[in-house]
Structures are given as C-alpha cells and as structure tokens.
C-alpha cells in the first residue's frame, strides 16, 4: 500500500513538473528548428507554442501508462538528451 502511494506520487510529480519542463524544452526546440528551416521568427515561435499542449498531453499520459518507473524515467531522459542536442544544432544553424 505504502509502495503504491510512492508509485503514484512519483508519477504525478513526473507528469506535472517533469512533463512541463520537457514540454518547454520540446516547444523551444521545435521553434528553433522551424527557424533554422527558414520559417519567419514570429511564426516559428507560434508553431512551437501551438504544438506544446499536445506534447504535454502525451507526456502526462505516458507518465501513467509506462509499465515501470525505470522505463518512464529512462525514456524521458533519452527524449531530453535528444531534444537538447537538436536544439543546440538548430541554434547553431539559425
């Protein structure tokens, strides 16, 4: 019972806080990427923002759907690393 509570609490925190942070990163990355691919700056920013809520929704659903916490955190860490690299590369190009 106690372990279950921890399980839920950790998933909730991961979904809300981790999800928001990762969404912010994804949104910024998408915006830089769009800019690097030739979109106007204002539109690139808008595109990044528009897509963000869908991204957040998927992360929240995955936070509860992932079979184990290890798999959840592992996947989010990989996504973070990937987005970080893409953002750095796109920033250099833009």
């Amino acid at each position: 019972m106690k372990r279950l509570r921890w399980q839920v609490a950790l998933r909730v925190i991961t979904a809300i806080a981790g999800g928001y942070a990762l969404t912010a990163l994804a949104s910024a990355t998408l915006a830089v990427l769009a800019l690097a691919l030739g979109m106007a700056r204002v539109d690139a920013a808008l595109a990044g923002m528009l897509a963000s809520f869908a991204c957040y929704g998927v992360i929240i659903v995955w936070s509860f759907g992932a079979a184990t916490l290890a798999r959840l955190w592992g996947s989010l860490a990989v996504a973070t690393a990937l987005l970080w690299v893409v953002r750095a590369m796109a920033s250099a190009l833009a």
Partner: protein, 532 residues
Amino acid sequence: MFPVGGGWRQTMAWLHTWTGLLAGWLLLVMCLTGSAAYYRDEISLWMQPAWHAGVAARATADGQQQAARQALAHLQHTAPQAASWIIDLPQPRKPYTEISWTSARGQELGPGAGRPGGNFESATLDGAGRLLPAARETRGGGFFAVFHFTLHYLPVRWGRWITSIATMMMLVALVSGVITHRRFFADFFTFRPGKGQRSWLDAHNALAVLALPYHAMICYSGLVTLMLLTMPAAVNQLYPDNRGDFVRAALPQAPILVAASGKPALLADTGPVLEQAYARWDGGLATRLTVQRPNDAAARYIVQRDEAERLSSERQSLVFDGVAGTMIDGGGARSSAAPSSAAASAAAQTRNTLVGLHLGHFADPLLRALLFACGLGACALMGTGVLLWTVKARLRPRPPAGLRLAESLNLVTLAALPAAMAGYFWLNRLLPDDMTRRAAAEIDGFFMLWGVLAVAALAWPSRRMWMVQLLLGAALFAALPVLNLVTAPADAHVALLDIGTGMVAATDAGLLLCGALLGWAGWRLRPRVVAP
C-alpha cells in the same frame, strides 16, 4: 487505486477518473458560463432595457454607411476637438452604433488611441441616429465570458493559470477517456435509460462520442488563447531579450495615434471610404471606424474588418487619409516588426483560427445555436461524469470519505450555478439605475446567491435539495421574459419585432427554454408515492 502492472486500458481508466474528478467541477463552471458567453451580445442588449425601444441599425453596407454619417454628425457636434473618435458600426448581433472619443487632453496619452485613459467618453446611437439613453451600468453578457477564464475575484494571472491547468486536465481526460473506451461506435447507439449507473455511463459515452470534435476543439483552443502566459518557452528561446517584439509581431496592435499638424481641414465623407474597404474585402463588412485627429490636416480614417464574417480572429485594417479619403495602407495595422506580407502565415493562421473557433464570433444564428448546444453537451458530459462517480461510490461497501463532498459539489455546479446565473439577470433589472458600483453589485449579487445555494447544498446534499434548486432555477429563468416585459419600456418589444431583428424577443425565448430544461430536470426528481 492505481493499477500497478495493469494494462494500458486499466491505467487510462484510472487517469480518466482522477483528472475528471479533480478538474470536473471547475470545468463545469467554466463550461456553463462559457456557453452562456456564446450569447454575450444578446445578453448585453437584453440587459440595456432602455435601448429596446430604439430603431435597430442594420448591419449592411448601406446601414453601416448611414450609421457612420450619423455618428460623425453627432461627434462633430459633441467633441470636435477630440484626439480621436471611435465608431463601432452596427453588427448582425449589435443593432446599434457605439461611439467613443478621447477628449482633447487625450493627445498627451500617446499611442493606443482610444484606450480608456480617464478622459474617455462614449454614447450609443440607434438606427435613426438618435442618441440612446445612457447605458445602464452593467457588465452584461461580457461578465460570463470573462469569468469563465478569470474566475472574477482572483488576481489577474491566478485565474488564467487555474483555468488553464483545469483545461490541460480536460485534455488528458479526453485522451485517456478515448483510450479507455472500448466500443467507440457501438456505444454511439447504446442508451439504456432508467438503469441507474448503467444509464449514466451510456449517457456519458454517447455525449463524449457524439461531440468529441467539439470537446477537443474547445479544449485545445482554450489552451491556445492563454499560451503566451502558460507556455512561453518558444518565445523565450527566439526572443530572449525582448518579448515585446514577439507580442507586437504576432498580435494585432491598436493603431498608433498620428501627430496633429495643427492646421484645420475638412474631413472626407465616410461613405466612399467604407465603400473602398468593402470592395477591398469582397463585400466584407467593417466593424470599427476610427478617426484620428478629426478636423486636422493630418486626419486618418482606420477601418477594421468585421471578424464575425471570417473564421479567423485576426483583425484586418485599412488606413485612409482623412482629408483626401484615399487609401494609405492596405496591409493592416501591424507594426513594422511584423513580416511585410499582408497575408498571415500558416502558424499565425492556425493560431488565429483556433482562437476564432473558441470565440465563435463567426457563427450565424443557426451555427451559434449549435455551438451553444455543443457547449451544453460538454457540460452534460462533465455532469454525467461526476454523477457517475458518485453513483458508483455510493454502491461500494465502504463509501469513500469524499463522497458527501462530491455529491454536494455536483449540486453546487449543476443546480445552484444555473439558478445563480438566472439571478444575475434578475439583479440587472431589480437594482436601481443610479446605484453606485452598480455593475459590481450585480456580480456580487450573483456570487452571493450562488454562495447561499452552495451552503445549502453542502449542508443537505439530498434528492429534495436537487429538486428544490433545479425548480428554483427554472422559475427564475422562466419568469425573466415577464420581468423584461414589466421593466422595459412599453414599446420595446413591438419596436424590435417590427424591424425584424427580434433579438430581445429571441433572447426571452432562449431564457424560457433554459427554464424549461431545468424545470424538466427538477420535475423528474419529484417525490413519488411508492405503494407500501
């Protein structure tokens, strides 16, 4: 209980239950008041009974040109020295002309001509160019529209954050609900009435599936309207030093007030100016005519397009020389920081379309009624959702601790809120005209009535309380047309029916329908004699 190691469907059912339960009641409040906001103009007109006797101004090219001439004549007489005049031309849902002006001192106020700056005055004209009686101090239908994302008493940012979080939870509940749902199309045709829990579930499923595109649209577009506040990461990335640049480039800006030359000059006729605008927009009507520096050689006309005719909420405006009457700028009032192309790009178009969909300004009467029905459908979706939870929880051998609270909150949102909304209409008519802080008093009264009903609901969340509050709401709504008849000028209804707008009469009919709906729900809960 969280199903550790359970399948996807079980986990998603858990997520659906909890997001729905935690945000459901707040979402219900937002959804009900937001649905009322589809009729904000109609409600606002209903709430100005002194205007009902006026001649309705027509929202046609001729009607607008006539209204502009009448407005200009009035403004020349009242405020010839003003820094700027704003003329809100008649719209299909606003059969009158609103004029406002900044007094001559407004020149020092700088850009954003016509923003209220302390010396900002306004008046309203009817279709015959007559001055309508001073507006009764009320927030009208705008109150419901603003409340549904600000929650009224909260600090500016808090209300928006709280409603955005609830909407995000709605998005998660929608996604997890769809995943949970097994028989997507079969349930479309499944309804087993009078079977308690099973009937609530059937209704919940049918409502969800039937209007799923609407639910998804209203949810996501709601998030988009506040995204600059809640999700600014992309802007921070691309505009790290100056967020203002983004705002100026992305959002339509109020036209900047030109400097006066000091040389007097005669204003050009507004008729040809509007004619040019209509031609430019393929017959699209204007919504606002701004006159900057009237009677000065530097005068400007700015014509803004009627957004009601287009899906997207992006404003288009044209700038004219106020003396020669020739077009100066046909590219819109966007600042120079914006891309030079007049046509909005795909991303901006998407954002504008989403916001436009959420506001629904574009909808004609039939589509508006459909949107309103969809809004009520979303309320019913959330309502059946929270009811379903309480019905199931009651059947458990050991009912959960929050059951009583949940049952009370069902009452507070589904029965007490509609009654309080009807009460807001009553206060609009019953509070004296010359009362201080009258508009605020109407709103405070709404919350007081809701509060009293909520306390009663929390104290006695019984079936009888459901019946009493639903029937109270029904009576309050159903009597509104009578109240309107008694408190509006005697010739009001005849006048507005006569010229074919019938807007107030239609609003009365709508209010009666709301009463009938609540009455039907309350009547079903009447105590029935059971044979011993």
